[in-house]
Symmetry: C2
Subunit: 137 residues, 2 copies
């Protein structure tokens, strides 16, 4: 399941994607528009900024705007940024790989092979969902 953070991030990005080019959205505006607790959203937007999905203008009349094309922001990326690995176990993960601590024979985790199949399919599906694909759905 997605965390609230990830869900809110998607909704915030969706909100930003729906605005006119060059429009700068204040946090409060996004919070109201997408029904997200404002202070919580602040943190999320900062995370999205660190992840280079959005950028911001500070001070009066400041706010946030997309810096990545809505066609290029995928569910997979947002999942990784907020909720980490897409694979079901660390030993089956590409970006968050860690060996199993409880597998007797390191390289022969009985679950790994099957879970890597799942990961590949899930990942492909998640890369197919972009912010653009969600707009006006």
């Amino acid at each position: 399941m997605l965390s609230h953070k990830a869900k809110y991030a998607l909704k915030a990005l969706l909100y930003l994607a729906e605005q006119d080019e060059n429009h700068i959205s204040r946090t409060i505006e996004i919070a109201d528009g997408a029904n997200i607790p404002k202070k919580f959203l602040e943190q999320i937007l900062l995370d999205l900024k660190r992840g280079r999905f959005v950028s911001s203008k500070q001070g009066k009349f400041g706010g946030y705007y997309l810096i990545k094309s809505k066609n290029e922001i995928t569910l997979a990326e947002i999942h990784r940024l907020f909720d980490g690995a897409i694979a079901l176990l660390p030993c089956a993960s590409l970006n968050f790989y860690e060996p199993c601590s409880d597998c007797k024979t390191e390289s022969e985790c009985s679950l790994r092979h099957g879970l890597m199949l799942i990961r590949d399919k899930t990942l492909k599906a998640m890369e197919g969902i972009t912010i653009a694909s969600l707009v006006n759905k």
Copy 2:
């Protein structure tokens, strides 16, 4: 990601699937064989029993054994039993459906449609992974 419980459950089922027909496995035997904390495994086996994947014989010479064919136990079922919904949000779930609380227009959650596509693909993949398919991998 899978919880430890779900992971241990899969490993326990795998262990049981590898035993001779009619063999009854004690908890301690499974725990040692699959490297699972014994007391924790107890709970997991009880959950698996409630889920009708295994059954048990009590008392001396008691233990656990599979009552469902290893071809019919899928990753999807184990995920649902221990970790709940396979979908990324409750509003996109088949078995654990709940409406979003933060979506303005109930039936028009902006994420729902995309997440249902993911769910369908992930579910299909997870239903393809059975205990039998994992044995000797």
